[in-house]
């Protein structure tokens, strides 16, 4: 992979409540982390919602200082996380795409490692980093995806497979680098709450595509940032985010069933769906 065929998508979805300074700071962390890479992606694609507040925040930022090819696109439709990524993916014109949440960071060698691994393993369709999970105050929580390199964990050392995913759902897609055509072909993320990432990984592998964990800490993910999607699931009183253990179980089971279908069947939760 050369510099010209990776686009990094930064979705801007639930930022209305974030103050201007914090918004700027978080964006700065994300973009600076890309910029520090010697091997840079061809393009950074910011997909934002059509909202004056966000527009104003982005407008006021000096994006040129990062030395990156940054493009902003506006999604006029639904702008939750999944829709933003699916929308952006259709505007990606490079062979590979990746997602960087705007409050996360990539390591300064991540894209170089991606380049090396894409060249070494052209048969692999998705590369995942070892993720360094941190708290909002940057405290180390743990690593994700590293277990795939444990002996006998999956069928082949370093490669995620369907059997392993069904047994072990905690594979993080944070920072994944995927062939754009495949992401679009299998219809991207579904409107499944909580487990949409997991369902996507199951569906990707069910379709016979191959993934690999690059054995490098390539991505720093802030767990449970205030106002982030998963924080809202845990803490929000709003109906759309309300989630009790029963619902969580429902969405886990849904992921394990829905991955067999490439189309989004827009599953909704009803109280009597979960057997006791």
């Amino acid at each position: 992979m050369s510099k010209t065929n990776l686009t990094v998508i930064i979705p801007v979805h639930s930022v209305a409540d974030i103050g201007k300074q914090k918004f700027d700071d978080l964006f700065d962390i994300a973009l600076s982390s890309i910029s520090r890479n010697e091997v840079k992606p061809e393009k950074v694609l910011i997909v934002r919602c059509n909202c004056i507040e966000v527009d104003a925040k982005l407008e006021s930022m000096d994006l040129s200082k990062y030395g990156l090819n940054v493009e902003i696109i506006v999604n006029d439709g639904d702008t939750d996380y999944q829709n933003q990524i699916n929308y952006a993916a259709k505007h990606v014109d490079t062979e590979y795409m990746s997602i960087l949440e705007f409050d996360d960071e990539v390591s300064k060698t991540w894209y170089g490692n991606v380049k090396t691994h894409v060249e070494a393993y052209p048969e692999v369709d998705m590369f995942l980093p070892i993720v360094n999970d941190v708290s909002e105050d940057n405290g180390f929580i743990g690593l994700s995806n590293e277990a795939i390199w444990a002996y006998n964990f999956s069928e082949s050392l370093g490669n995620v497979d369907l059997e392993c995913l069904l047994e072990y759902p905690n594979i993080s897609p944070c920072g994944m680098v995927i062939k754009t055509a495949i992401f679009n072909e299998i219809n991207g993320f579904k409107q499944i709450k909580l487990t949409f990432n997991y369902e996507f990984l199951l569906r990707f592998h069910k379709n016979g595509y191959k993934s690999m964990v690059i054995p490098k800490i390539g991505y720093k993910h802030v767990n449970m940032r205030e106002e982030s999607l998963f924080w809202l699931y845990k803490n929000s009183e709003a109906v759309e985010y309300k989630m009790n253990p029963k619902q969580a179980l429902f969405w886990m089971e849904t992921a394990k069933k829905e991955y067999l279908f490439n189309n989004d069947r827009y599953i909704i939760y009803e109280e009597n769906d979960v057997s006791e």
């Binding site: 390591s107 090396t116 070494a120 393993y121 390199w149 050392l157 370093g158 054995p215 800490i217």
Partner: protein
């Protein structure tokens, strides 16, 4: 007079055989039972080099059920002539040479009276001493020639054993097998300890102290055919080496050639190639788990120091097959010429003695 002529004729015939490359060169080799063994690799490589130079080479082993090395080394090793001591059909003469590894030092007692030229091959100083009776050495059994693997070992032998002069042939590391991997390295730790219990201790200690790195696998590098060994070694991100008795250190050099840095314990005899640039060397093996955890952290984060990223450069151009073949040729030609001189001297002395006896 007739007998005198016959003896002189025999000596001249032996000289002529050596001059015409008709002498037998016999390497006594231990049975590795199908497992790779560094010292045996070195002997077979010399045997192959001499064979390619047109000499008649045989590998002598103890038992008839000897397992040949072709399965783990190279198939051409099996094409060398193999003789078993059990068969009792080794016929040697004054023109012939036998190369005996230091561990078999006691063999010299059994072959003391044989007219063959005896050469002891020392690859381990400790093993050499173990084979001696107190106050005795193979020099007392008429062994005048010794070959070893490094200049420092040569000095140590010369300081200890009253031998005339010691030659050394540095081992060769295959430039074809031990190369940089064409794929990125993996979070796998290659481990090679002379004592298996030390490897087990190291692994357990590492996982207990650093459970976060339990996903990093260890690969024990013993008992593998050489090509599989090289393939496995080059995909690892680091090597662990503990071998107090090693005098050359084939394993770490193979690792370094593959650009896999070594975290190792400094052996009793410090190898000449060992520098700050090609590994992390400690005197206390208990420090290794901690150093390893730090290494793995830095490897995962791509923050290793520059020198550890390019360790293969520290042995670039060294231990090549070209150097080894040249060195082997020179050392053995030197020994052959020395033998010719010895025989010439014997012949002259014998003639003089006979003349003197006739005059008397």
């Amino acid at each position: 007079m007739e007998k005198t002529n016959e003896i002189v004729k025999n000596i001249e015939s032996a000289i002529s055989k050596i001059q015409n490359k008709e002498q037998k060169i016999v390497f006594l080799v231990p049975d590795t039972k199908g497992n790779a063994k560094s010292s045996v690799i070195h002997l077979y490589k010399q045997a192959l080099t001499l064979k390619n130079l047109g000499y008649s080479v045989s590998m002598l082993h103890e038992k008839n059920d000897y397992i040949k090395v072709g399965s783990w080394l190279t198939p051409e090793c099996d094409e060398l002539e193999h003789l078993s001591i059990e068969d009792n059909n080794l016929v040697v003469g004054a023109s012939d040479f036998i190369i005996v590894p230091e561990v078999y030092g006691t063999v010299f007692e059994q072959i003391e009276k044989m007219p063959i030229e005896k050469i002891v091959y020392v690859q381990s100083f400790d093993y050499m001493l173990e084979a001696f009776a107190p106050g005795k050495s193979w020099a007392d059994l008429g062994v005048e020639e010794c070959i070893t693997t490094s200049n420092s070992l040569k000095t140590m032998i010369e300081d200890t054993v009253p031998v005339e002069d010691v030659q050394f042939i540095e081992p060769t590391i295959s430039n074809e097998m031990f190369t940089l991997n064409d794929k990125p390295q993996k979070p796998i730790i290659a481990i090679y300890c002379r004592e298996a219990r030390k490897a087990a201790k190291m692994i357990k200690s590492f996982y207990l102290k650093y459970p976060i790195y339990r996903f990093v696998s260890f690969k024990d590098m013993h008992t593998m055919p050489q090509d599989t060994f090289a393939k496995n070694l080059k995909e690892c991100c680091v090597s662990i080496w503990i071998d107090d008795d090693s005098s050359f250190g084939r394993y770490p050099i193979e690792s370094i050639k593959c650009n896999v840095p070594v975290i190792g314990k400094v052996p009793n005899i410090i190898p000449e190639w060992m520098t700050d640039e090609n590994g992390v060397w400690v005197y206390d093996e208990n420090q290794i788990p901690e150093i390893l955890s730090s290494y793995i952290k830095n490897w995962l984060e791509d923050t290793l120091p520059e020198n550890l990223l390019n360790v293969s450069k520290t042995v670039e151009g060294k231990y090549t097959e070209e150097i080894f073949e040249k060195n082997t040729k020179e050392v053995y030609e030197y020994l052959f010429n020395k033998k010719i001189s010895k025989l010439e001297t014997i012949k002259e002395n014998f003639k003089k003695e006979v003349e003197q006896n006739e005059q008397n």
